[in-house]
């Protein structure tokens, strides 16, 4: 394969990471918590589409819609039941561990319903591949849709935060929950909305992830979830453009490492680059460096 083709697969993988990372970064920026269950919401989204489309035989659109609706509800429920009671806990680690518990829970629910066998996920994209340069370079339909979806969603999120009242409320909550409350902002509602949006994004990311890489089992979401977390950190956690660029970069680095160095070493290389970047820029590419006032 040519360099350009690798670049394209990198972009494709990267835009999946970017999609997941956008959800991660929103939740982190506003609720200030690492939602370790985010990757598993992705998996639930993919399973929902799988059930609706492959098992029940309904049209693709219905499957995607069902995934988005279910994941949105799931995200809001998880926040209400498991995270909200711990928002004022003595240590921020409490909610992190609970998120891990939720992650186990989602994996095991899926395990009970769908079993351990890996399912073949039927792609939701019916777009034909575009071949350029006499078939030397191929853009698969999935790649095109994922990249476009990712750009559209990122732009949408940035507009949403800049232009709408709810978006401005999110910014305020992310700066200072107490002050936002005093200004009459519904902090609980804003955080719930953030989880709703983050989880809806996770559903879309899950469907697109499994369309490009069609093997689906209860652990499908874990590694992409961690990678997306890495991508969000690359870009500076909490920054939306940061998550996008971090995701794309991560995908490209991973594919290049697999292609040119060693497929076994790919993950190690990705993580090593992360360490180097953070040592040079301790809060990621676009992260804000807040110095403690003395």
């Amino acid at each position: 394969m040519s360099f350009v083709q690798y670049l394209i697969s990198g972009l494709s993988l990267g835009s999946v990471y970017a999609l997941i990372a956008l959800g991660y970064t929103m939740v982190y920026g506003i609720a200030k918590m690492l939602n370790f269950a985010h990757g598993d919401v992705i998996m639930i989204g993919a399973f929902t589409t799988y059930t609706v489309c492959s098992t029940m035989g309904l049209p693709t659109a219905a499957g995607v819609l069902a995934a988005v609706v279910l994941c949105t509800l799931l995200g809001v429920c998880i926040e209400k039941v498991a995270y909200k009671p711990l928002r004022k806990a003595a240590s921020p680690l409490a909610v992190l561990i609970t998120a891990i518990g939720v992650s186990y829970l989602l994996q095991n629910i899926a395990l009970l319903i769908f079993g351990t066998n890996t399912k073949a996920f039927a792609s939701v994209v019916s777009l034909d591949a575009i071949k350029l340069a006499d078939g030397q370079i191929t853009f698969t339909g999935e790649t095109i849709v994922t990249i476009i979806a990712c750009i559209v969603i990122m732009a949408g999120l940035m507009l949403f935060i800049k232009k709408t009242k709810a978006g401005q409320a999110m910014l305020a909550v992310s700066e200072d929950k107490g002050a936002a409350q005093l200004m009459g902002i519904n902090v609980n509602g804003t955080i719930a909305l953030t989880f709703a949006i983050g989880s809806a994004l996770a559903a879309i990311a899950g469907v697109l992830l499994c369309s490009s890489y069609p093997s689906l089992n209860p652990y499908t979401g874990s590694m992409p979830g961690i990678k997306a977390f890495v991508a969000a950190v690359f870009g500076g956690i909490g920054s939306i453009p940061g998550a996008f660029i971090g995701g794309i970069l991560l995908g490209i680095i991973e594919i290049f490492a697999k292609a040119y160095i060693s497929s076994q070493m790919a993950d190690a290389i990705v993580f090593a680059i992360l360490i180097v970047i953070l040592l040079i820029r301790p809060t990621g590419l676009f992260g804000r460096n807040i110095q403690e006032k003395v």
């Binding site: 711990l86 680690l93 609970t98 829970l105 395990l111 060693s262 070493m265 190690a268 953070l278």
Partner: protein, 361 residues
């Protein structure tokens, strides 16, 4: 009066430590009696050494998370390094040092030292980072450690040690050479030197070192950094030195746990299950559930959470589901401010109820 108050305080610490030691020794004696009476299933017997391993891991991670106050998600990486370095040594020296006791003691020291050195090497650049950024970097380190060991081939012959990252043929060993680490297959045939008794001994050593460290001059400096780094600096505490001290001691005990783990198995390979980030997270779960900074709690949480899935074995498919629900419920019960208030209210009611009852008498 004042000296008495001081005495009372040091006695309190001493008593708390003694309870922890007593608990470990008590459990050991009871288990030994039960085993002798044949009342322990082979399944639970098989869990005894892993229980010690997890307890050591949890106690050592608590030094980083609870005492130093930094979040590390790479503890399994240090365990991995301890496991492989010591198993490599034991395998090489199996014939040279036939006395298991001596060989295993050296293996433990090697595992602890190697992991400690790595803790130092990783800590120097990384401990400048804060909070979640440190967490992700340590997670990355753990994954790198696992990944590299998975593709490492090491063999030994008369001319020394040979390395390769591709396959065992590339080691160019002579006829008498032996391949010790076989890439993803890892090390097979490590002598089974671990036992429950050794595990308990190592746990006790871990406890002595870490508890005594905490209640010493160095421990105070470490906790001062945790509570307020700027103030600690202003009273002349060397931040880097003490952060590194806590981090590398924590790493070296993770290494010890790795040694125990490696010498309990006939074949050792680095998978995402035993040395991946999932394992690091599992250890963190022990620490947080047991109470951040609470050493005894770490041990209890490690034991309970390791036994729980086994106790639920009868429930088959549902056991891990229940495990997850129990974990979430316990976290909420232990940490949610509303639950804590509710618990206090109940305790208060019970107490005042008792007083009333006494008054009535």
């Amino acid at each position: 009066m004042r000296m008495m108050a001081a005495k009372i305080k040091s006695n309190r610490i001493l008593r708390s430590n003694l309870i922890t030691f007593g608990m470990v020794i008590g459990v050991y004696i009871i288990v030994q009696i039960l085993v002798a009476a044949g009342a322990v299933s082979s399944l639970v017997r098989g869990l005894l050494v892993p229980l010690c391993t997890y307890a050591i891991l949890a106690v050592s991670l608590n030094l980083t998370v609870g005492i130093l106050g930094e979040l590390s998600l790479g503890h399994a990486g240090f365990m991995c390094i301890g496991a492989f370095s010591s198993a490599f040594f034991s395998k090489c020296m199996q014939d040279v040092i036939p006395i298991a006791g001596i060989r295993f003691t050296i293996a433990i020291l090697i595992g602890a030292l190697t992991a400690g050195v790595f803790g130092l090497l990783i800590g120097i650049p990384v401990l400048r980072l804060k909070g979640d950024y440190l967490a992700i970097v340590t997670l990355a380190f753990g994954e790198i450690a696992k990944n590299i060991i998975n593709m490492l081939y090491v063999g030994i012959d008369e001319s020394g040690i040979h390395f390769s990252t591709r396959n065992s043929l590339e080691l160019n060993l002579s006829e008498n050479g032996v391949v010790i680490i076989q890439g993803a297959q890892g090390i097979t045939g490590t002598p089974n030197d671990s036992s429950f008794t050794v595990g308990i001994l190592l746990l006790l050593i871990t406890l002595v070192v870490i508890l005594n460290l905490i209640h010493s001059r160095d421990g105070r400096a470490i906790m001062a950094i945790r509570d307020n780094t700027i103030a600690a600096e202003s009273v002349g505490i060397n931040i880097t030195k003490y952060k590194l001290m806590a981090f590398s001691i924590s790493a070296s005990f993770a290494g010890v746990a790795g040694v125990l783990y490696a010498h309990n198995l006939s074949s050792l390979s680095a998978t995402s299950k035993n040395f991946g980030y999932n394992m690091s997270i599992m250890i963190l779960v022990f620490v947080v559930l047991g109470g951040i900074g609470n050493i005894r709690g770490s041990i209890i949480a490690a034991v309970v959470l390791t036994l729980l899935p086994e106790l639920l074995r009868g429930l088959n498919d549902y056991r891990m589901l229940i495990y997850a629900v129990v974990l979430i419920a316990m976290m909420l019960f232990n940490w949610a401010p509303s639950c804590i208030r509710w618990r206090e209210k109940i305790v208060y009611k019970l107490k005042s109820g008792k007083k009333h009852a006494k008054g009535a008498e």
